[in-house]
């Protein structure tokens, strides 16, 4: 049905996809596997017309195509169902299905009857037993997903891409979804299925494609494959980062941070736990790696330790054997806990401010004299970190918006370090930055640990977890699933523990 030839894509110089070729067949379900950042979503976005600039060639139904936008792709017959559903909550199912392609009568008025009839027909086919006039907001997530599938069928899609379709739905809804997929298959449609949940793939996928670091590693038939084999293909790469030297930074091992039975409930639903009884210790001079797949609760754990969710958390957090009652980031920072957040642009930086103002932001009380900001002190503070972290910039007065991702990340780090923290938490510290900046940040983390700081590094990149952690915690479904010393940790056993429901 679809042949992709030598697809490549770069984002401001960083290679996201390189030379990917694959064939997707009609009447079969193809699973795309890979860790976060392997290039799966980039590839899917190219296939579905979200990105219109790429290298290589796509042949769909025997014709070379180049989609300018998602509507183009849809008209050709390729539909994508995103992880976050694209429905308007306060419109009815019918109105959502026909959004942008309404049926009108001779006077340009909506032909509700025809649209409702078509919707009913589709809903019966997909066995969704609800009124076509009900609001999407009143449907459960699984049902909303079926509506998305109906949307794809409405525009006669012949290829349907599903990105993590089961991440938010219940077991029984998964069964319904699989029934629908089987039916679509029998109608000779091509299904592309992306999921972290390997056990699902064995139930419904016919073929697999494994991706890693923006390349296609292998493809073949699911028949005869085992879960272990697939995991090995997903992670089996050379580790190109210098491993942390044995014993380094382990000299003065004293308890720094102790987390006991920390739970976090959802804001709207007190019975739903996003964090479930998390307990761990962090010692000075230690790098504690926390690994988990998307939705495992890693970011929530970091935010909770920073005091962002005061009313929703229970449990004890102590630093150097003193129990803390942290109710805000201000208090956390004063107690010596800082966070380099996952999304530096959204949560880390004030983009239209310059480097020195960003670096001093957490530390302004120290940067003033006689109640007035001391610009000289501020400049000195900034220069100190610009030099120490090798931030590449024209001057400390440069706006951070114009810096590269790696240098922006260093500015966030500098801001955190300027508060002289005891515990440094890093959430995906090397996401979206190039390999050189990555290595510099790794080196820095190791140096800081050697100076006695306790470091928690959350990452979904296994090689970096393995390269610089002393100890690894693996999270899944909001709980800690495994704890291992670095000497016992391998990519295989970490990933095994991280896959929800795999144990």
């Amino acid at each position: 049905m679809l042949v992709a030839e030598n697809i490549g894509k770069k984002f401001s110089g960083v290679v996201a996809l390189e030379n990917v070729s694959m064939e997707l067949l009609a009447g079969r379900v193809t699973a795309i596997l890979g860790e976060n950042g392997a290039g799966k979503s980039t590839l899917m976005k190219i296939l579905s017309g979200v990105y219109d600039e790429y290298e290589g060639r796509i042949v769909f139904k025997g014709e070379t195509v180049k989609f300018k936008n998602p509507i183009d792709a849809q008209n050709a017959g390729i539909a994508i169902i995103h992880q976050e559903l694209n429905l308007v909550p306060y419109l009815s199912i019918t109105e959502n299905l026909f959004l942008g392609r309404e049926i009108t009568n001779a006077f340009g008025m909506l032909n509700r009857k025809a649209m409702r009839a078509k919707t009913t027909e589709l809903l019966i086919k997909l066995r969704l037993n609800v009124d076509p006039d009900s609001l999407v907001a009143d449907l459960r997530v699984g049902q909303q997903q079926v509506v998305e599938i109906a949307k794809a069928l409405l525009c006669d899609a012949e290829m349907i891409i599903m990105d993590e379709p089961t991440s938010a739905i219940t077991e029984s809804e998964v069964e319904v979804l699989f029934g629908i997929i089987a039916e679509l298959k029998s109608e000779n449609k091509a299904i592309v299925y992306i999921s972290h949940k390997l056990n699902e793939l064995f139930k419904i996928a016919d073929d697999y494609v494994v991706m890693r670091d923006g390349r296609k590693i292998e493809n073949g038939s699911m028949a005869g494959m085992t879960q272990d084999q697939l995991i090995h293909k997903m992670v089996g790469r050379e580790i190109n980062i210098a491993r942390k030297g044995e014993g380094q930074g382990q000299v003065a091992k004293k308890l720094l941070l102790s987390v006991k039975d920390v739970c976090l409930v959802k804001a709207g639903d007190k019975n739903k736990k996003t964090l479930d009884n998390i307990s761990f210790d962090l010692y000075s001079g230690e790098v504690l790696g926390i690994f988990g797949l998307m939705g495992a609760g890693r970011t929530e754990l970091m935010e909770t330790l920073l005091g962002v969710h005061p009313g929703l958390m229970t449990g004890k957090i102590s630093i150097e054997n003193t129990e803390l009652n942290i109710r805000s980031a201000t208090e956390a920072i004063n107690s010596g806990i800082v966070l380099v957040p996952e999304d530096r642009k959204k949560h880390g930086l004030v983009l239209n401010m310059d480097i020195k103002n960003n670096i001093s932001l957490s530390n302004l009380q120290e940067t003033k004299s006689l109640g007035v900001l001391d610009k000289g002190k501020e400049q000195k503070l900034a220069e100190k970190y610009v030099n120490a972290l090798k931030i590449k910039c024209s001057s400390a007065g440069q706006t951070v918006k114009n810096l590269s991702g790696g240098n922006q990340q260093k500015v966030v780090l500098a801001k955190c370090l300027a508060t002289k923290p005891k515990v440094l938490m890093l959430d995906e510290p090397t996401r979206g930055i190039d390999i050189n900046a990555k290595n510099e940040i790794y080196k820095l983390i190791i140096e800081l640990a050697a100076e006695g700081m306790g470091i928690i590094m959350v990452s979904s990149e296994l090689p970096e977890i393995l390269a610089i952690s002393d100890r690894v915690l693996v999270m899944a479904d909001g709980a800690i699933r495994a704890e291992m010393n670095i000497s016992d940790a391998t990519e295989d056993n970490i990933l095994k523990a991280a896959i929800p429901g795999a144990i």
Partner: protein, 324 residues
């Protein structure tokens, strides 16, 4: 200077250039425009708007808005005038509490600050959108003004009170002194203090500011309280100049001050803008008003022109930021 530099400085000083051009045109078409009397007159007139607009700038810098300033101005002016004139009668004992000039003014200023604080409280504590919270305050404060004045002006407030709005000091009208001091303090706050830095940071990225350990709510409360205080100062100036607290004072002043802020180049989405830009914006509006009056343009056309200028200013600003 190469062309790019030339362009940036042109953009930077565009409102100043516009103001100069405006003044040149007005002095050609009207011989009354460029006189000492008229200059002081314009400056006295805009001093109220400058006070309010300085507060508005701070609020807009944190990506908020304050629609209540006109009503707060009226209420605080009326309270000061009422206390000064009538005091607070205590019916049961046939006594009344009198107020000195300073006391009456102080109460007016405190009431303004408290109303601003209340705005900030509903916005931070209950997450009411600033537009809605201050829209409600616009109505509430206007209603309270009507209740306090029973719908009638409070006039004849005495010479010493009138001096604030009409007097001169060292050859400069007193309101100009007052608004000038307000501007200087605000410039120092925004450029030199931790509070000022926090204001820009919160407007630039609230979430990053929060995670950086800034007490967002405290900053917001402070800013809305300052806006209330400055509206009260404006109220006292207006009342004193007219020697009368009008129940309808300050209607649509919030729009004039938002216009000054916008013309001054402050971004309505927060984080970008300066006090001096706003002052320039207020001066442009004031000069435009004055010029149109001198040229005998009908008040109806004046409104059309003012609206067009606001639109033009923002359109130019947008076009420039697109080129960046």
């Amino acid at each position: 200077m190469d062309l790019a530099n030339y362009r940036t400085s042109l953009v930077k000083f565009q409102s100043l250039i516009a103001l100069v051009l405006l003044c040149i045109v007005l002095s050609i078409v009207s011989d009354k425009f460029l006189t000492v009397d008229n200059t002081w007159n314009v400056m006295r007139q805009i001093s109220v708007n400058i006070c309010i607009s300085v507060g508005m700038t701070l609020v807009i810098l944190i990506a908020g808005i304050d629609l209540s300033v006109g009503s707060v101005l009226a209420l605080c002016g009326a309270i000061t005038a009422g206390l000064l004139k009538n005091g607070i009668p205590i019916q049961s004992s046939n006594l009344y509490i009198g107020f000195t000039l300073l006391g009456a003014i102080l109460v007016g200023l405190i009431v303004g600050s408290l109303l601003g604080l209340f705005n900030g409280w509903t916005i931070t504590r209950f997450k009411v959108p600033p537009f809605v919270a201050t829209l409600a305050m616009l109505t509430i404060a206007r209603g309270l003004t009507m209740l306090w004045t029973k719908g009638f002006p409070i006039s004849n407030l005495g010479d010493s009170f009138d001096y604030i709005g009409t007097g001169w000091f060292l050859g400069i009208p007193l309101p100009v002194w007052i608004s000038g001091i307000v501007v200087i303090i605000a410039v120092v706050i925004t450029k030199k203090t931790v509070l000022g830095r926090y204001i820009y940071a919160i407007g630039g990225n609230e979430s990053a500011s929060k995670l950086s350990g800034i007490n967002i709510n405290k900053v917001k409360l402070t800013v809305y309280a300052i806006a209330g205080l400055l509206a009260a100062i404006g109220g006292i100036l207006v009342t004193s100049r007219l020697d009368s607290a009008q129940p309808n004072a300050g209607i649509s002043y919030e729009l004039d001050s938002i216009a000054a802020v916008v013309i001054g180049g402050t971004s309505l989405s927060g984080g970008r803008g300066t006090i001096m830009g706003t002052v320039l914006g207020a001066v442009i509006i004031g000069v435009l008003n004055n010029g149109l009056v001198l040229m005998n343009v009908s008040p109806f056309w004046q409104q059309v022109v003012k609206g067009a200028v606001i639109l033009l200013a923002v359109m130019i600003d947008k076009a420039n930021s697109k080129n960046e």
